[in-house]
Amino acid sequence: MQRVYEVMFIVRPDVADEDVDKLIASLEQTVTGGGGKVRSTEKLGKRKLAYLVRRFNDGNYILLTIDADGSLIAELERRLRVSEPVIKFITVRMDEEEKRLAKVRAIRATKKKVSAIPVAEAPAAEAAPAPATPAAETTTQASA
């Protein structure tokens, strides 16, 4: 049961770029080795921290989007906790959120189709990007 997670972590600002890349590579290895999949890696760059973290004022933010198991996430977090350059991390579970967003978008797509029919005559109905349902086609034909 793969769940979608977003792992954001902060690396110390005084760490060289190549070391950061090495760190990210090793984390990705952990994920793929444990049966997960890395969806994307984003480097958000150096940012000023909102408060002092381990006596640092800014840090390098990195975001990993992962498909993984719960136990794999525990392992990943353990590694982040232990690794010296990482000063903070947060893991957020995103699969329920994605499901909800998909549902909302689906509802919105159907709503658009339904409202497009009576408002517009044939031309606008054809211009609707969503694939026309059989019901929509029959009603436009009846009104035309």
Binding site: I10, A50, V53, L63, K88, I90
Partner: protein, 111 residues
């Protein structure tokens, strides 16, 4: 309402629709738009920004959006001031707390 079930010989001459001096502000009326907040007149109806603009996902990552709902000292602004609806306020709070944890927003600012 606990108040209304007191005895008819009510010692306190409090009008039923009186000014709720305490935390009455919002939520008394049946889903009133933000509530009078101590006055008899309605303030102009505030609408939920997320509902009107149809913003679905409130992520802890978009700091600019979240900063609009955080006061100068870093405290989360109550929804009776911003006009946000309950569901979105809950999601917003969660996102702000996540952002605070990852040092994108301060816990307490402007010492």
């Amino acid at each position: 309402m606990a108040d209304e079930t007191t005895t008819p010989a009510n010692p306190r001459p409090e009008a039923p629709a009186g000014r709720p001096a305490g935390p009455g502000g919002g939520g008394r009326g049946p889903g009133g738009p933000g509530g009078p907040g101590g006055r008899k007149f309605f303030r102009r109806k505030k609408v939920c920004k997320f509902c009107t603009e149809k913003i679905d996902a409130i992520s802890y990552r978009d700091v600019r959006l979240l900063q609009g709902f955080v006061a100068e000292r870093g405290k989360i602004v109550p929804r009776r001031l911003t006009g946000v609806c309950t569901t979105h306020q809950r999601r917003l709070t969660k996102a702000i707390k996540q952002a605070r944890n990852i040092a994108l927003l301060p816990f307490a600012a402007r010492f």
